[in-house]
Subunit: 465 residues, 2 copies
């Protein structure tokens, strides 16, 4: 990436004219719009694009890509701006391609349990559209993210322990490539062995190989019934070991979320709940009433063996929603613990047997750092986050936080895990990915990137080490 | 691919010397060994390699690849030779890399439910090694294939409806690339969003991007209990519609296999069973006794609604094994219907709602062709095969069979499905893949192939359209 990419420079006037002719008022150079698109939920300083293109169709995306390709101007796809890794920032300038107006649910096929959506459709919007079908789209990263963004970052969240991640739930894609060609990957069949798995290559490619314009996702039958329990433990270790044994027992748990006492304290303050401030698991059991009964009996026994002190049930739907809403607000609740701060969120994911060790070592590292960082996460997948609270103006603190974050990555990688379970690589994790993928892995990623985007105009500065 | 690749020519003597120095007697130029390695279960004429390298370690694979790369000589990975699509044949000559001596189960990690194996380990071997752990490796393509071969073709089989395919069950790979570098993909964590999904790119790449030297697979808890039922239907349509409704109801069925009356007839002759010769479903239900009871009640009701005539239970383990063994022998049973014939196996996979239409249209096309072709398959995934029985010496019949095969592919693709559910592309389906992937899809596949294997020495003539 070089200077000619336009940081601090104006876009070529001919490009501006061409994009204005194509999109009219939906092509914006306004500083307010640009500032909004140069900001996400990460701790990275804002980096606005030089312009924003509010595209409304695949044809328009093709036009925008072709025009920018001609001038070698970067393209940064933008959904809802809820990235935690700086995916939407524009470190090399360029045009932010905002797909929020591509927000149509194109098809719901209840018989084949799939939906075809435009990339700007959010997960809540899709689930609202599914009401009455008996089906739902389970992937739930917390934020009401766009499905395009979720596919691009291989998102997952609380339901992944049962339903998998975007990796398992994207069936097919329409993608505009770096030269404006339109690629369609996948079919509507449940499985295939018909050539390279391009769908899986593009899922998680973070806008660096193409811009998604259509996503076919799998839907799932709504569970017949569900039950939610909040279980308090005497120690973090006891909670995490209950999870390990639950997973190893093969119980098809719906969700299982861990929150340490700091997270629970943050939630109580933020969401006005009155949960006991101790290491806690939120469980959801799903299925027929009999299946739930079996699961509850088994998990209950495991929890008691590990000293669970309290099993409280949320049986009414409103109560359950309130609990999950509080869980989903946990990130903001944590941030709110320290006014004016920003959060550096870590995203370790380890093999389940190493979860207790990973979490306990994370706790020790946090304590040693002197920083505040609640621990919480989707422990059924071996995935947990710490939210390191920092004053963005305090360079020394930022440095300490980055050292801590790197330490947590190293712990996860040394235990056979990964630096990123679900947030993606974005700007901040490229060095960690390099270590994880090794020299050959980095070379292969670069070779693929170069083969599909030789000029490096697609979301430069992200993912590829 | 050009002539210099060596068809009909000798391997460069310096290469022979180098490989002999490296492998000793495990490097073979014997015509018997070569003939064996130029043959698989497909209908393609044998195409022996120029030599066979029986490798025993990753280091040896690296040596063989480096040497062949230097001389531009093709490399064809070889596992058990059970491919149905000509994957192991050597249309451009070259060296067959036989991994059958790399047959060590390197690690069984019961706590994380994974195993690390060398590519020559077969699925039955792995399951034998897992005895006593309470875990199993479910992917079951029928043949006792090597796990390397199964990963390379993205295999699946009877259990995929519940456990997924090799796509879902390979966690990590070690791969020797075209220039001899060793790539390690994936981690032991259950999920990741740490860069391009190289594991999924290599799974299903059929030896065209690299040679697998180590595979980390997911294991699953053995079901607490299981029950098998054989159900006879008045028509193919009734059987298939029962499947559609079973899947749509969300019952977590263990397996559901369809066999038409011709397949049942073939099985009775071959495996000495006395099944009623009618369209039939083999069901397997898995779980706790209560869960099985619930599933059986639901599926039983659906089957009766569709006119099921007979529900017979195989409750004893030996009886169940005998039934599944008979199912697994179905391919050979079909071939055996017509002595001396070979089978062209089609591998359509369609969205579940289109399964009845696909199967009925397939039946009509077979009838119109005048050829014999039993229909059977893993219908819970929308995947079914026809085994077109042909006299390989009869050119006119071969042509009719190929026309029929193309027609069946067209039916599947027109219904939103794929030309290959699980057998891979190999030699025969490249044109079909081109139609399915479209112009941009073919271009992307070629770009990836060229980026990772610029000289085209890895399994040339396979997969890439």
């Amino acid at each position: 990436m070089n200077d000619s990419m336009g940081v601090g420079r104006e876009l070529p006037p001919a490009l501006v004219a061409r994009l204005t002719a194509c999109l009219g008022e939906r092509f914006s150079l306004s500083s307010g719009v640009r500032a909004h698109h140069g900001h996400d939920e990460s701790h990275f300083p804002d980096q606005p694009p030089q312009a924003v293109a509010f595209v409304a169709s695949t044809a328009e995306v093709v036009e925008v890509v072709r025009a920018c390709a001609e001038y070698g101007v970067p393209l940064i796809p933008y959904g809802t701006g809820t990235s935690l890794e700086g995916h939407v920032l524009a470190p090399y300038g360029g045009v932010s391609v905002d797909v929020s107006q591509m927000n149509h649910v194109l098809e719901i096929d209840a018989e084949d349990m799939l939906a075809v959506v435009q990339p700007g459709v959010t997960r809540k919007q899709l689930n609202a559209a599914l009401r009455g079908t008996g089906l739902f789209f389970p992937i739930d990263p917390g934020a009401d993210a766009s499905i395009g963004g979720m596919a691009a970052t291989r998102a997952s969240g609380t339901n992944a322990v049962r339903y998998g991640t975007m990796r398992e739930n994207v069936l097919a894609l329409e993608v505009v490539l770096a030269d404006g060609r339109v690629l369609r990957t996948g079919t509507r069949a449940k499985k295939a062995s018909a050539g390279y798995d391009l769908t899986r290559l593009f899922v998680g490619s973070e806008g660096t190989l193409g811009i998604f314009t259509e996503i076919t996702v799998r839907l799932h039958p709504l569970p017949e019934d569900s039950a939610v329990a909040v279980v308090r433990f005497p120690s973090m270790q006891a909670a995490v070991e209950t999870v390990i044994h639950t997973i190893q027992s093969g119980v098809p748990i719906g969700r299982v979320e861990f929150l340490d006492e700091v997270s629970i304290h943050a939630i109580n303050r933020y969401s006005k709940t009155d949960l006991a401030e101790a290491p806690t698991l939120f469980f959801e059991f799903q299925g027929s009433p009999r299946a739930i009964e079996e699961q509850v009996a088994l998990v209950g026994e495991l929890a008691r063996e590990h000293g669970a002190e309290d099993f409280s049930w949320a049986s009414r739907p409103e109560e359950r929603s309130r609990l999950w809403e509080a869980r989903h607000q946990a990130y903001f609740a944590c941030i709110n613990l320290r006014p004016g701060c920003r959060g550096i969120t870590t995203d370790s994911c380890v093999p389940i047997s190493k979860l207790a060790e990973a979490v306990l070592r994370a706790r020790a590292a946090i304590d040693a750092s002197g920083l505040i960082a609640p621990i919480l996460g989707h422990v059924g997948d071996g995935n947990f986050h710490t939210v390191i609270l920092i004053d963005p103006e305090d360079a020394a603190e930022l440095e300490r936080a980055e050292t801590l974050s790197a330490e947590l990555v190293e712990i996860a990688q040394s235990l056979g895990g990964t630096c990123s379970g679900e947030h993606g690589v974005g700007m901040g994790k490229r060095a960690f990915v390099a270590r994880e993928a090794g020299e050959a892995g980095v070379a292969v990623m670069r070779a693929i990137k170069t083969a599909l985007d030789p000029r490096g105009i697609l979301n430069p500065g992200k993912l590829v080490p």
